[in-house]
């Protein structure tokens, strides 16, 4: 079983995956934090993202929904921020990243999704006051290992 202990190797492995693989592993990252998002659209979106046989049309629709959810969940400029809700925003962003085609963003979809999922956890840690630094990344390393070995 390939094990990861640092982000350099983790990211290299993610970037080496093809478009579909990146989407699938990104969807798993999002599933790991999906409880942090109260918007039910994300569950539907991730179902499409995790489906290796999803059609082009399904993926495009899912991406649209993910984007809409991201906007709806964001804290608008000047309004009072709620970090628990922001966690939901980051989950939606991760879902958006998972579904964005390769090459559209400067960093790969899977890496971007992973980062957004970590930010979702950070948001929750701001609310709880706990220091959860590093926990989500460890879980992501495990998820990627399992994905590569399956």
């Amino acid at each position: 079983m390939t094990e990861f202990s640092n982000d350099t190797d983790f990211r290299k492995a993610l970037d080496a995956l093809d478009a579909t693989q990146q989407r699938l592993v990104a969807a798993r990252f999002v599933e790991n934090v999906i409880a942090l998002c109260s918007d039910e659209r994300i569950a539907r979106v991730i179902r499409s993202a995790s489906d290796s046989k999803a059609s082009e049309g399904e993926l495009v629709d899912a991406l649209k929904t993910a984007r809409a959810t991201t906007f709806d969940c964001h804290t608008r400029c000047g309004s009072e921020g709620d970090w628990a809700e922001q966690a939901g925003y980051f989950v939606a962003r991760a879902a958006t990243a998972a579904l964005t085609p390769l090459g559209k963003m400067p960093s790969g979809p899977a890496w971007q999704a992973a980062m957004s999922c970590r930010m979702a956890q950070t948001s929750m840690s701001i609310v709880s006051g706990d220091d959860t630094a590093g926990q989500e990344s460890k879980q992501q390393y495990r998820i990627l290992s399992e994905f590569l070995d399956s």
Binding site: N6, D7, K12, V60, K64, R67, H74, R76, M115, K138
Partner: protein, 426 residues
């Protein structure tokens, strides 16, 4: 006259200076300003004509500072400004104007209408006619230090996790650093990866920098609502921190009005010049590029276009720097049909995005940006303002357009040469 109306009229009188008087004296009602304003072009509602948004201010100018106006007022023949009028004008001044300044570029007689809208907001706010969203944001900015309620522990958590992710330290409260980085609450809450991007770039380029725990907020709500006293207080906090940390320069991040506030209005609000310089992050990045300290690798191959944030470009003067940086980064960069200082506003700045009442209008006028994009068919948009970014995303989604909106700073960070992550701490 009610007490609040009196405060408003007094504020109007205070802000009228020679330029304002000259502008009102020169207006010939040609209507050209309407054709430069996306709130008019996309709705065709004449009330959104820029100069019309200033009607209450014009009346006060006429009655107080012009011979004929004073005469007609004395004879009881003038039409005074009333509370009802200000209520009616609230949506014109706050919902349908971002102070983007495009009108100021086309007026044949040279009126700087955006300059006057900024001043008019002083009277609107003083008379209690500002939108609820902005009032809340300003209160939070004063009491908490951030219009979105971001407190230091939250920023510290973001910083800790960023350090963890990128394997680089993020300096806080370092005395003697060359640069003090400000952050907008929008970035801290919605785009915290900006912090990591900066850290990576500065690490490669050997920039000495720090964040201040006492003054990290770049956004100036006072400017948006139009209360100069509050705007001044927010600037003073940054000035104190900059002086305490003995920095040479303060960096304004990817936020439009923050740059206007700290770079151009700041010293005038506090009544004295700064003892430090102020640069926009794009200015610094371009300087680093010119000095050969910014090394990037690979290029973006997708078709990119640049959205000029109005306060940075047209009103701020940072126009060629993003283009220099994009030429370094992009294989296929295409300008919008009207670009640079004549680019069109995203429709959400200057407090419009903080104002729920303006949502429908804001989305409607995004059609102007859509038309610009339809003419060039980019794959993605790059910009340098968090507020523009989120609202470009919203507008694109509303109009069924499929393209990501990227941050210029973050894109540079992704292309840094030798940017393999150093081993992150466990």
């Amino acid at each position: 006259m009610s007490a609040t109306l009196e405060r408003g009229i007094h504020a109007f009188k205070e802000v009228i200076d020679a330029p304002v008087a000259s502008f009102f004296s020169s207006c010939v009602r040609c209507g050209l300003c309407a054709h430069a304003c996306l709130f008019y072009t996309e709705t065709e509602e004449p009330k959104y004509t820029p100069i019309y948004k200033l009607e209450p201010l014009r009346r006060v100018w006429r009655e107080e500072y012009s011979f004929w106006g004073r005469l007609t007022k004395a004879l009881g023949l003038s039409k005074p400004v009333t509370d009802d009028m200000l209520t009616e004008w609230e949506t014109l001044v706050y919902d349908s104007c971002t102070m983007c300044g495009r009108c100021s570029m086309v007026c044949p007689v040279g009126n700087d209408i955006a300059y006057m809208v900024r001043k008019m907001r002083e009277g609107m706010a003083a008379s209690g006619h500002a939108p609820a969203g902005l009032i809340g944001a300003t209160q939070r900015a004063v009491t908490i230090g951030s219009p979105m309620g971001v407190k230091l522990p939250a920023l510290q958590a973001q910083i800790r996790h960023t350090e963890q992710d990128i394997g680089l330290p993020i300096p806080v409260d370092e005395v003697g650093a060359e640069y003090l980085l400000l952050l907008s609450s929008m970035e801290i809450m919605n785009f915290p990866e900006f912090i990591g991007a900066i850290a990576k770039i500065f690490n490669q380029a050997g920039v000495s920098w720090t964040i201040s725990s006492e003054a990290f907020e770049a956004t100036n709500s006072g400017i948006q609502i139009g209360v100069s006293d509050i705007a001044a207080e927010l600037v003073e906090r940054i000035v104190s921190a900059a002086e305490k940390l003995k920095v040479k320069s303060v960096i304004s991040p990817e936020c439009g009005h923050a740059y206007m506030a700290i770079r151009w209005e700041g010293p005038n609000l506090i009544g004295r010049p700064y003892s430090f310089k102020v640069v926009h992050i794009l200015e610094l990045l371009d300087d680093l590029r010119e000095q050969g300290r910014l090394k990037t690798t690979g290029k973006e191959t997708q078709r990119l276009t640049y959205h000029d944030p109005c306060q940075i470009s047209r009103r701020g003067g940072v126009v060629k720097q993003p283009r220099n940086l994009l030429n370094m980064l992009a294989e296929d960069f295409v300008e919008m049909p009207e670009s640079g200082t004549m680019n069109w506003c995203c429709g959400a700045g200057g407090g419009v995005s903080s104002n729920e009442r303006a949502d429908e209008l804001r989305l409607k006028v995004f059609n102007r940006k859509k038309q610009q994009l339809d003419a060039i068919h980019p794959d993605a948009i790059i910009s340098a303002c968090s507020n523009c970014r989120i609202h470009l995303e919203d507008g694109l989604e509303e109009y069924g357009m499929d393209m990501p909106v990227l941050s210029l700073t973050e894109t540079i960070a992704e292309h840094l040469a030798g940017s393999e992550q150093p081993g992150s701490k466990e």
